[in-house]
């Protein structure tokens, strides 16, 4: 069974979980043998061009030690054989169209998303 994980909501959970919760879930399920691909849509287009680690949060005297690292997580997903896609128009409408996309991430046109949906057995939209 092939599943496409569609992630649109970016930067939620990134601080408290020190991960994007769905990219983390995807890595974890991949380790359990899942056949997954990821579509970065909406604000998750930012992940495709992310260059830096997340800033470490400080609240009162509490200082974060291990902020999330989206670049590392994308590398790990790709390294595990997870196909990762980003929507071109979602990059462009956010002014990200001219930025280099993370190596290995495939940019697809919005009008091709339906083809991606057809290539998998299920679409899980988070």
């Amino acid at each position: 069974m092939k599943v496409l994980q569609v992630v649109e909501q970016a930067y939620r959970t990134l601080v408290e979980e020190q991960d994007d919760t769905i990219l983390w879930l995807t890595q974890s399920m991949k380790g359990a043998g899942a056949d997954l691909s990821v579509l970065l849509a909406g604000h998750c287009a930012y992940y495709a061009v992310q260059k830096t680690r997340q800033p470490a949060l400080k609240i009162g005297g509490w200082q974060q030690q291990e902020p999330a690292d989206i670049v590392r997580d994308i590398d790990q997903l790709l390294g595990k054989g997870v196909d990762v896609y980003v929507v071109r128009e979602d990059l462009e409408e956010r002014g990200l169209g001219d930025l280099p996309v993370h190596a290995g991430i495939r940019v697809i046109e919005k009008n091709k998303i339906h083809e991606l949906y057809e290539q998998v057995d299920q679409v899980w939209q988070w």
Binding site: V3, E17, S28, M29, A32, G33, Q122, Q125, W126
Partner: protein, 136 residues
């Protein structure tokens, strides 16, 4: 004919938004259709089965605790468990263990287990179909 298994993955905690209500209505409809239900409760949804949820009264409306009968998701889960049992259907509920830990909601009502993303994949692989409901 064997009843089909459907898996549902959910992320929202009790209260806060309408998705939680819609989710439970879907589970109820699944049992009505003789479906064996499997739920993977992820992130905030790990609190849905927390056994220490408590009702309260409503002084704004002049109702005491008994009168208010405040809805609690743990009671919804228990009601679905009972309905499944009466219909000889499965109703399996697994909370993501790490999600439980970080929220401190370790005490779940009976019949709810602790698991990991591997369980979501197992549930999905063994089910006829799966629906994931993300949070916003």
């Amino acid at each position: 004919m064997e009843n089909k298994i459907l898996t549902f993955a959910f992320m929202d905690p009790p209260f806060e938004n309408e998705r939680t209500v819609t989710f439970f209505r879907i589970l109820d409809a699944a049992l009505d259709r003789s479906v064996n239900v499997r739920v993977f409760a992820y992130e905030g949804a790990a609190a849905l089965a927390f056994s220490k949820q408590q009702q309260h009264g409503n002084s704004v409306h002049g109702r005491d605790l008994q009168q208010e009968q405040h809805p609690l998701t743990k009671d919804w889960i228990a009601a679905l468990q009972k309905k499944a049992q009466e219909r000889q259907l499965q109703f399996d509920w697994v909370n993501c263990g790490l999600c439980v830990d970080e929220r401190g909601v370790m005490e779940s009502i009976p019949g709810c287990g602790r698991g990991s993303p591997a369980d979501l994949w197992r549930y999905a692989s063994e089910a006829f179909n799966t629906l994931a409901i993300g949070t916003r």
